[in-house]
Structures are given as C-alpha cells and as structure tokens.
Subunit: 153 residues, 4 copies
Amino acid sequence: MESRPLSRDDVRIVRSAQGPIVETDLWVRFAETDAMGVVYHTHYIVWFEVGRGAYWRALGLGQVHALRDAGAFPVAAVEARYHAPARYGDRVIVRTRVAEVRSRSVTFAYECLDQAGARLVTGQTTHLFLDASGHAVRLPEAVRRALIGEAQP
Amino acid sequence: MESRPLSRDDVRIVRSAQGPIVETDLWVRFAETDAMGVVYHTHYIVWFEVGRGAYWRALGLGQVHALRDAGAFPVAAVEARYHAPARYGDRVIVRTRVAEVRSRSVTFAYECLDQAGARLVTGQTTHLFLDASGHAVRLPEAVRRALIGEAQP
Amino acid sequence: MESRPLSRDDVRIVRSAQGPIVETDLWVRFAETDAMGVVYHTHYIVWFEVGRGAYWRALGLGQVHALRDAGAFPVAAVEARYHAPARYGDRVIVRTRVAEVRSRSVTFAYECLDQAGARLVTGQTTHLFLDASGHAVRLPEAVRRALIGEAQP
Amino acid sequence: MESRPLSRDDVRIVRSAQGPIVETDLWVRFAETDAMGVVYHTHYIVWFEVGRGAYWRALGLGQVHALRDAGAFPVAAVEARYHAPARYGDRVIVRTRVAEVRSRSVTFAYECLDQAGARLVTGQTTHLFLDASGHAVRLPEAVRRALIGEAQP
C-alpha cells in the first residue's frame, strides 16, 4: 500500500519526554477554504487524520493502520480549538503524538502550526479498539507499546 | 432505510416527453463555499449525487439504489458546466433525468437551478452496472425499464 | 437569500425549559460515507452547521446569520462524541439549541438522532462575535436575546 | 505564502513536446474514501486542483495563482473519466499540463496515476480569466506565455 520509501520531507519523528511526536506538512487546498476566506473548521480535523496516518507510518505501524484505523479503530470523540486561521496556499505543519493509552482506547493529540511555528488549531481524537465482530476490546499489548514508540508491533 | 413517507417538499416528479424528471431542493451549506465566496466547483457534482438519490427514491427504486448505486453502480464519467454561482444560504433546485440507457451503462443528466429557474450548473454522469463479482454486465431489463419510468423493478 | 417560505418539513421549533430547540432533517449523502461504510466523522460536524443554519432561520435571524455566521461569527472550539454511526440513505434529525451565551461568545449544542430518536452524535460549537474590523466584541443585547428566543433582533 | 523552498519531492517538471508537465504526489486520505471502499469520485477533481496548484508553483506563477486562480480564474467546465479506483493509503501521482490556451480561457489536462504509472482518472478543467470587475477578458500575453512554459509572467 505504501509504494515508495518515505522521504524525510514526508514525516519527521521528534523524540520527546512525552514520547514520539510525528510531523508532516501539507499545502492548504482551495477546496478546504470557505467564504470567510479561510480554512473551513472541519478540514483541520481531516488534517488530524493526515497527522494520525503519518504517525502510523512513521512508527512502522502501516499494517496495524491499514487493518485498524481504517476498519476497526473508530473515532469516539473529537475536540478542536481554533487559534488562528490557515489560508489557501499556506504550508501547514501537523504535529501528532499519543496523549493517552487506556486499556480500550487511545487518544491522539494534534497541533496544526504555521511555518513560523505559531499554533493554528489544536485538538485531540479518542479511538476505540474493536475486534473483528465490532466489539470494543482491550488494546493488544504489542499495539499499545508500538503506539507509544516502545516497540514495533 | 427510508424511514418516513416522502413529502412533496422532498421530491417532485415531472412527467416529460423525455421521461420522468425528478426535482429536489437543498440549502447551500457554508461548508460548500470557498474563498471566492461561492460554492466550490466539486460540490455541485455532489448535488448531482443528491439528485440521483432523489431520482431513485421518487421512482420507488430504493432497493435497487441501496444495492447498486452504493455498491455496484460506479461513476465511469462525469462532466459539468458552470453557468452562474450559488452562494451560502441559497436554496437550489436539482433536476435529474435519465439521458440515455445503454446495454451496460446509464447516463443521468442534471440541472442545478436557482429559485427563479436560472441555470447554475448542468452536467451528466455515466454509470456502469457491475455484478456481484465486480464485472460490467448488461443492465437487467426490469432495472432498465424502471430507470426510464416505465415500470417498477 | 432565503427565497421561499419555510415549510414545517424544513425546521421545527420545540419550546423547552432550556429555550428553543430547532430540529431539521437531512438525508445522508454517499459523499459523506467512508470506507468503514459509515459517515466519516467530520461530516457530523458539518451537520452541526446545518443545524445552526436551521436555528438562525427558525428564529428569524436570517439577516444576523448572513452577516455574522458567514462573516464574523467564527468557530472558536468544537467537540463531538460519537455514539452510533449513520449510513448512506439514512434520514437524520439534527437538534440545535443555545447552550450558553456569554458576553463575547455563544455556545450551541447539537444532537444528531436517527428516526427512532436514538443518539448518533452529540456535540457543541463555541463562536466568537467579531466586529467589522475583526476584533472580538460583546454580543449586542438584541442579538443575545434573539439567540435565546426572547425577541427578534 | 509559499514559506519554504520547494523540494523535488513536492513537484517535478517534465518537458515534453506538448509543453511542461508537472507532477506532484499525494497520499489518499481516509476522508476521501466512500462506502464502496474507494475514493469518492469528486475527490479526484479536487486532486486536479492540487495538480493545478503544483503547476502554478512549479512554473513560478505563485503570484498569478494567488490573484487569479483563487480570485478570478473560475472553473467554467470540468470533465473526468474513471479508469480504476484509488484506495485509502495509496500514493497517487497527479500530472498536470496546459491542454489549450484560448484568448479568454485556459484548459488544463490531468492524469491521476498509481505508483506503477497506471491511469486511475483522467480529465480536464477549463477556466475563464476575469478582470477585477468580474468580466471575462483576454488573457494577458505574459500570463499566456507563462502558462505554456515560455516565460515568467
């Protein structure tokens, strides 16, 4: 599915006391703007998904990602705070980290930054872990450790 | 799936020499605008999908729709012409009809109109008919006749 | 901008101890689904916007809406909780009320319900009130009262 | 607006007998999929916009782009043909070239390819050139030459 080696331009991993932080960049699309001349507020939350995908890829979790985020890692809650707007043609940095891992859920935290590092939008999403029959189950230990950057799954 | 009787406000069927024309209305969402202050061009094509769903519903094709448009009636081609823009808060009329039924495909034609009947966007989409294994097959006669308003499937 | 009288099918106002609650309905679009077979999580937040627009319209606040929500009533924060998924073709009810009016902001609360009244998604959005030069200012008293259903602006 | 030097990973210019072809890559977002498990058909047309932005950037037309594509280079027509679907997590190549420059319009042609070079979607968009008061006018000679790669504007 990931058909070419990732370049450094695509994702950057920063090791922090809070665990790995993964950065990726994106150009703002005109399709993402609204009649206020800025990015419509739900598109930043799509960028959270872009950040989460980069996180999975950066930590070598592509297979888990393909199986779980797509199929059985649904969003249970989302919140976002809007600090400053992005505009068409801007280059935005999305920073993603795991904020909390519980027995049956994982919470990701996100920052969308401009090129000067100023915060545009911050937020988080909480995901349940479902088994093949769609029931919420405990996160397998290997996935839990991989999520916090301690090991590959 | 369609859990309440349809009101006349939802869809209107006009019988014409070219076969049935189905009308439905929608309010323009702020999410659909862009930084030019008007509706972003791909959202009109989503409205074509809204019109197509109204067409299926109006002709009692809900079951075919559920099985086929969602699962095995993929879009093979689309075209749209932009005559005048819609803006946030506008009430838009979407008119849908079957332009052509061929042995293995069907083409719908659409008009998005303002409340005065002026054309905003016109276009068409062509869909293949796939069987359960994903191969393009002949349209069943019952579906073909239902599509052109001659019979229920 | 609102070019025809609103029908009862479009918005319903329920008077409650917490102030007016405005209901509107929508069909789930195929464009709103994702590869999990359900509505992608940010589209419910677009439906919050649909509910907010219905709220403005229902309370006769169209002019405020046109001027303010579009131009100077930006979203400062959003949160959503996902209880059960909506699917293509479902008819969804969006219920909107004003949860809190502060001197410089207003918070709307939303419920997306299925036709049996079961909760799909709940959430809220907080909006600042900006003056023509883009500064956060106090909500004019007339707007505040109109928002809580006490008077027309 | 373009706050860092472009890397080769971002856009590639191929000189051809038909003029410059600009390539850029993107990851398919989960938000772009639908309940058929593949990318919803209008999102490819958003990718055309991504390709067009890459084209403007690659040819140093950022300023024209900012002024014109955003503000006064509206889409007059679009068409797309769907050959094979893209899926979540795929890496897609978008190739953009100028197909035709007329006195008052420009037509871009696009190919969305998978990593093996197979065509997913092909299409084109035609844009009018509007002056500050919104009237269709002749394309300035400098812009016309820049568009076909002959000179900077």
